[in-house]
């Protein structure tokens, strides 16, 4: 720093924010900088280098400029070497799509509770990251995952709350690992903001909500289906979501695998809407020798947040692949660049992340029909309630009632076309629900036929006699 050395000072006027800053003007011990005289088109008055000869090379201006607008260099000095690794192009190989793999469980019959079968389904689907927070009746999923992820070289973490659990799951997904969490009503409420973040950033992950009787703490170990609408609309902003509803331990296993496949296929969070019955029930279930798994499509260099197809699913790279990912929950273009005031970009994005689900309705929708022949009245049921409903439908059939049943294995996106179809063939729909009427309202939106709700909100599994009596015309419900 002596005066026998000379320095050049470059000041980038386009970056300088001018008179409200002038840190350089005030910081320089030698008065090298001065207040500017020129006013830029932006109305700023950038500082100016007045006496470069005075510079002693202390570089304080360079360090303090908030806009990296100043470069001090010694004349004839050694040029500084750039030590960091230069930017490289994206290098990961293209990957993803369907593959057939061996089941992780031995093929054959297994006997477990639903929560454990769900965890096994996750392991089978390739899930290697679990973050969660204990809550009844979902804790057994977590406990089982804690054990299984040790055996499979995965990562398990009990987070400080459900907000953090959902956050960690999304972080892990972008790190390239299939990830999940499981919770129940109160925890699901805490997760919803980050579920929306997963929708907006198109992050594949699975969220299991083992529903219990709410609102609030409600009845912790008792079943209900009060979170059906929350799964769909819980996060703000209102976009389409995928939710599946298992009715058995078999489906706790199968639909968990399906949930991962859909999450990876469409780059979305998928909600598995179980309940205290399907979570805690112990039943046998079958495991096949092989199964089909989908892994997220990765095309190096492709835009990670956009597609020419308005219902397209973009390629998903991971961290550490040189893609310089810009991931944000704010409105962004196809490269992740924030466009928070652009109406066109916003509408295109919100429509696409919904259309990519709606346009693939057929691929997602899953249901089963029972006693469809000649059914004049159709019971629409899902989750554990469908077990009671099927008993009731059988009982009514035996007594000569022309009733059939449609069991929805996927609730969202709602298969409205199916209801419209049946509406033409039947006279009436009956929807038993362990809530105050959620899917019944949606059914009504898709038909002009009468829709009756058989509601039970006492924290018990749907009483099959209640449904039967309704079907038999007895008003005991």
């Amino acid at each position: 720093m002596s005066k026998d050395r000379t320095f050049t000072i470059q000041l980038d006027e386009d970056l300088c924010k001018g008179s409200d800053c002038y840190i350089c003007v005030n910081a320089c011990p030698k008065g090298v900088f001065a207040e500017g005289e020129r006013i830029t088109p932006k109305g700023l008055r950038p500082s100016q280098v007045k006496d470069p000869d005075e510079c002693i090379g202390c570089e304080i201006c360079e360090f303090l400029c908030p806009d990296l607008g100043i470069t001090v260099e010694e004349v004839g000095g050694t040029e500084r070497v750039i030590t960091s690794t230069p930017k490289g192009g994206a290098t990961a190989p293209a990957s993803g799509g369907w593959t057939t793999v061996q089941s992780s469980l031995d093929p054959g019959t297994h006997y477990m509770i639903g929560d454990e079968a769900c965890a096994e389904g996750a392991i089978a689907a390739g899930c290697r990251f679990y973050a969660g927070y204990p809550i009844t009746p979902a804790s057994e999923i977590m406990v089982h995952m804690a054990k299984r992820l040790v055996q499979t070289d995965g990562v398990f973490i009990q987070m400080e709350d459900e907000i953090g659990s959902m956050a960690a799951v999304i972080g892990a997904s972008w790190a390239g690992i299939k990830s999940m969490t499981a919770t129940a009503g109160p925890g699901f409420s805490l997760m919803t903001e980050n579920v929306g973040y997963a929708c907006m950033t198109e992050t594949p992950c699975v969220v299991v909500d083992v529903q219990r009787a709410g609102p609030s703490t409600g009845q912790a170990s008792r079943p209900a289906s009060g979170d059906v609408m929350q799964a769909k609309w819980g996060t703000h902003g209102g976009v389409e979501i995928i939710a599946l509803a298992p009715w058995s331990v078999q489906e706790m296993y199968d639909l968990t695998i399906k949930a991962f496949n859909l999450a990876e296929r469409f780059r979305v969070p998928v909600i598995l809407l179980a309940d205290a019955v399907t979570g805690h029930l112990r039943e046998s279930f079958q495991v096949e020798e092989t199964m089909e798994l989908f892994d997220r499509i990765k095309v190096p260099g492709a835009p990670p947040f956009g597609s020419d197809d308005e219902s397209g699913v973009p390629s998903m790279p991971s961290f550490g692949e040189g893609e310089e990912l810009l991931i944000t929950g704010s409105t962004h273009d196809r490269y992740g660049v924030r466009k928070t005031a652009d109406p066109v970009v916003h509408e295109r994005l919100v429509k696409r992340i919904s259309k990519k689900i709606i346009a693939h309705m057929e691929e997602i929708t899953d249901y089963e029909l029972y006693f469809e022949d000649g059914a004049q009245r159709v019971v629409v049921a899902y989750g554990s309630t469908a077990r009671s409903a099927l008993w009731a439908v059988k009982a009514a059939r035996e007594r000569g009632e022309r009733v059939g049943m449609l069991r929805l294995k996927s609730l969202w996106p709602f298969p409205g076309e199916l209801i419209r179809d049946w509406g033409r063939r039947c006279e009436e729909f009956i929807v038993p629900e362990t809530n105050l009427g959620q899917i019944s309202q949606v059914v009504q939106q898709h038909t002009a036929n009468p829709v009756s709700l058989v509601s039970q909100t006492n924290g018990e599994i749907m009483d099959p006699r209640r449904v039967r009596d309704f079907l038999m015309g007895r008003k005991s419900h």
């Binding site: 980038d12 360090f63 990296l68 607008g69 470069t71 690794t85 709350d161 956050a167 960690a168 550490g320």
Partner: protein, 256 residues
Amino acid sequence: MGEMLREKYVRQPTPFCAGCGHGIFMNAFLHAADEMGLDFRGTVFVSGIGCGAWVPSPHFRADTLHVTHGRAIAFATGVKLARPELNVVVISGDGDIATIGGNHLIHAARRNVPIKVFCLNNLVYGMTGGQVSATTPQGDITSTTPQGNPERAFDLVALARGAGAPYVARFPVVRARKLTKGIINALRFDQFAFMDVLSLCPTQYGRANRAKLGFEGPSLIWGMLEWQKEVCVNREKAGPEEMNGKILIGEWYAES
């Protein structure tokens, strides 16, 4: 250096107000990253919501994850556990990290997840209009404490140390070289590292407290930088008298 750092590491000019302390931190961070040869390609920057969160995203030419308000550390925990070989660096504001996100901060410190957390502490919520933060000093004026903040502020160094963070530091942006060295130490540290970066928000905090704190000088930001110099003392140098009303700066390593 300025030009080279920009070309090498920065995508675009920042939208920060003139003189924003977050810009000075960004400058120091890039000097540090370049000096130590931080591999940007192997680094993921995670930030929440707020002006401070904009330092890495959308500016840094690296993988960036710009998340929900307060949750950056929880997202970062997921990334780091899933891919331990990546450097995971959180850069966000005091509102984000220490107020709404305080729970994640203490638990990450307790767990000793090897991520690096830089809390850009400008004592206020800059982005949303200068509301009080958990780090706003008692008595200071903010848009939601027009008569002076009635609450006490967090001492983030004490908080992080109390939660078990093995490396904790505090540096003001005005001490740019010290700050740069500290950033290098934090980034090189192989466990959880937390830095309370004393940043400055001339627009929201400066204007509201100019009279009260006497930010004198040819410009508001310069007055604030001078004030930082005045109130900060090195922890090694400070005796009990010097400490009165002062802010200790430096590094705290847990005894191992």
